[in-house]
């Protein structure tokens, strides 16, 4: 069926070796190594090659919100375990470990803030919490962020970083797709704008729901944003994947995002958009 419009098949000899785990502060692209404070200073962007390291939700909020302007909402909301899910370990244990490891109650942090003086609602995901996966609590918190934006009459800015729906919640996790889409529909009906920022990675159920429905979509450089991950595609189709498969650069070329915004420019770009949308209805 549908022919690929542009088939970019680049043979390459420098495929990443399946090497041992690197130190998290070592750039996977150019091998530059950084101290913690150096990375924090550079917003977790490699100052040598521009690679964007994963950024934690709290750090992201600090980097875009005006100092002291962020007021968190629904901080007490936690996941439940409706299926009594047990794989190699119980889901409850994984949740507890994620909370201890990240200091977050869930894979998303929401609240009100200002960006260069422009009020908005923020919903920021954290990949470190169970791969940023979306279960009932993440869906509910995102929906509450939409409600809060409507209540305040301000735009919503989300930053997604997620492997997709949370398997441990089974079909209820899938139902968070339409749930968050309802919330975006209500937001739009109330005349509030929605800017969706896609960070690495935004895949599966999060890409197939709210993250794709922003009035404006911004992506971080090198962020994977595909419905199916490269490994699944490779295993299912045995196709040779383009080197930039699913990356934000490819998505810009195919028309799926409005712009790629390097992290140090994100705050000013968001502020510009918030000023522009402030003149809407």
């Amino acid at each position: 069926m549908a022919e690929p419009r542009i088939d970019v098949r680049v043979e390459t000899n420098d495929a990443p070796p399946a090497d041992a785990k690197k130190h998290p502060n070592t750039c996977p692209k150019c091998q530059s190594h950084y101290r913690d404070d150096e990375l924090e200073e550079s917003l977790w962007v490699c100052s040598h090659c521009g690679h964007h390291f994963p950024m934690r939700a709290r750090a992201r909020i600090v980097s875009v919100a005006d100092e002291g302007s962020f007021t968190e909402e629904a901080a007490d909301l936690r996941s439940d375990d409706p299926l009594d899910f047990f794989d190699l370990r119980p889901y409850g244990e994984r949740l507890a470990e994620a909370e201890l490891g990240t200091g977050l109650g869930e894979a998303i942090v929401i609240g009100r803030a200002t960006v260069e003086g422009n009020p908005c609602e923020l919903a920021v995901m954290d990949f470190a919490f169970m791969g940023g996966s979306m279960g009932s609590a993440v869906g509910e918190k995102f929906a509450r962020a939409c409600d809060s934006a409507v209540e305040q009459g301000v735009p919503l800015v989300s930053v997604s970083a997620s492997g997709g729906a949370r398997m441990q919640e089974g079909i209820l996790a899938l139902m968070q797709l339409p749930k968050t889409i309802v919330a975006v529909a209500d937001l739009h009906d109330a005349g509030c704008a929605y800017v969706s920022v896609l960070a690495h990675p935004t895949t599966g159920g999060v890409l197939a729901s709210f993250a794709s429905l922003g009035d404006v979509l911004l992506a971080e450089p090198g962020a994977l944003m595909s419905f199916a991950g490269p490994r699944v595609v490779q295993q299912t189709t045995r196709e040779k994947l383009p080197d930039d498969f699913g990356l934000s650069e490819a998505n810009l070329r195919y028309g799926h995002v409005d712009a790629i915004v390097p992290r140090p420019e994100l705050k000013s770009q968001l502020a510009r958009l918030l000023r522009l949308f402030a003149n809407g209805k």
Binding site: M1, E3, P4, S79, D80, S136, L177, I181, A211, A228
Partner: protein, 310 residues
């Protein structure tokens, strides 16, 4: 989960009775069947029983969308293409008469033999399929035709071209489109309700499942490969995430279970179609006469409220 689950299902059953979804004279046997489902749940279905649903849902002789179309609709006219790029044969869409009423049908379609399976891409749609679905559902909206969707897919197609054409965005947009339709929507999972590829056309006012259908966030094999690091643990994975109709009803994800002939829909497609027709007609009757804004409000409230958290 024994007693709590039982209470929840009883509660659910009583609600179903009160909305009359399955309460019509023609389906008085249906509650009896639900009662059987209830009994099965309170007995906590075994790994084997859940796996049997998985096998029946994927049975090679199971009736597919067009098998039901030919048995339920008169004057069927299939509509092709997304008006942009292609006609995706993994999703069929068209107009037909259900009794004397024009309805729009959208459904996944699998193939019966090797050639047709390839043509239908095993029921795994490209973004073009979801764009065709959206186009035809908007047509329904313009002419006030109710929409019936039949869900039967292992999932949206995971391929390079599918990603280049915007698979994630198309699935999101299709759900958003369904939420905004001003006509009644009845969705029925008739086989595999595989993840995003399924929910893309399952945002209905009434969502039903056939008795032996499954509805899940990931395939049992996929879940096993990730969480057990071994795809052959699929049976264990299915038992853990509970994709069967009884559990989906209990979790409030679906509104009712459509009975199948004993032994599964493939043993008697005519009877399976008759039972499906009864359930769809009842659901449509139930939604008739609701003002558009009330329909929309209830549809949004239905999906906004799904989830369990602390």
């Amino acid at each position: 989960m024994a007693s709590e689950a039982e209470l929840r299902l009883r509660d659910r059953l009583s609600k179903l009775k009160s909305i009359g979804l399955l309460g019509g004279t023609k389906v008085s046997g249906e509650l009896e069947r639900l009662q059987k489902q209830l009994d099965r749940i309170t007995a906590e279905p075994s790994e084997d029983e859940i796996w049997r649903s998985v096998e029946l849902a994927r049975h090679q002789d199971r009736p597919y969308t067009l098998d039901y179309v030919e048995r339920l609709f008169d004057d069927w006219v299939e509509l092709h293409g997304d008006r942009g790029r292609a006609d995706d044969a993994a999703i069929v869409a068209g107009l037909g008469k259900l009794d004397d009423r024009t309805v729009v049908l959208v459904g996944h379609q699998k193939g019966r033999d090797v050639k047709e399976r390839t043509k239908r891409n095993f029921g795994m749609a490209y973004p073009e399929g979801y764009r065709k679905a959206m186009r035809v559902m908007k047509l329904a909206d313009r002419f006030d035709f109710p929409v019936i969707t039949l869900v039967d897919t292992p999932g949206a197609y995971p391929g390079v071209a599918a990603e280049q054409h915007g698979q994630g965005g198309a699935i999101a947009a299709s759900q958003a489109t369904m939420l905004r339709l001003g006509v009644p929507i009845v969705s029925v999972v008739i086989g595999e309700g595989g993840s995003g590829g399924a929910i893309a056309i399952a945002v209905g006012d009434r969502v039903l499942m056939q008795e032996n259908a499954i509805y899940s966030v990931i395939s049992p094999e996929g879940c096993a490969a990730i969480l057990w690091r071994d795809a052959s643990e699929a049976k264990k994975a299915a038992a853990a995430f509970k994709p069967d109709a009884a559990h989906c009803l209990e979790l409030g994800v679906i509104d009712g279970i459509v009975p199948e002939p004993s032994g599964g829909a493939h043993t008697d497609p005519d009877e399976a179609a008759r039972l499906l027709g009864i359930a769809v007609r009842e659901a449509l009757e139930d939604l008739d006469g609701l003002p558009v804004d009330e329909l929309s409000r209830r549809r949004r409230a239905r999906f906004r409220s799904i989830g369990v958290f602390a």
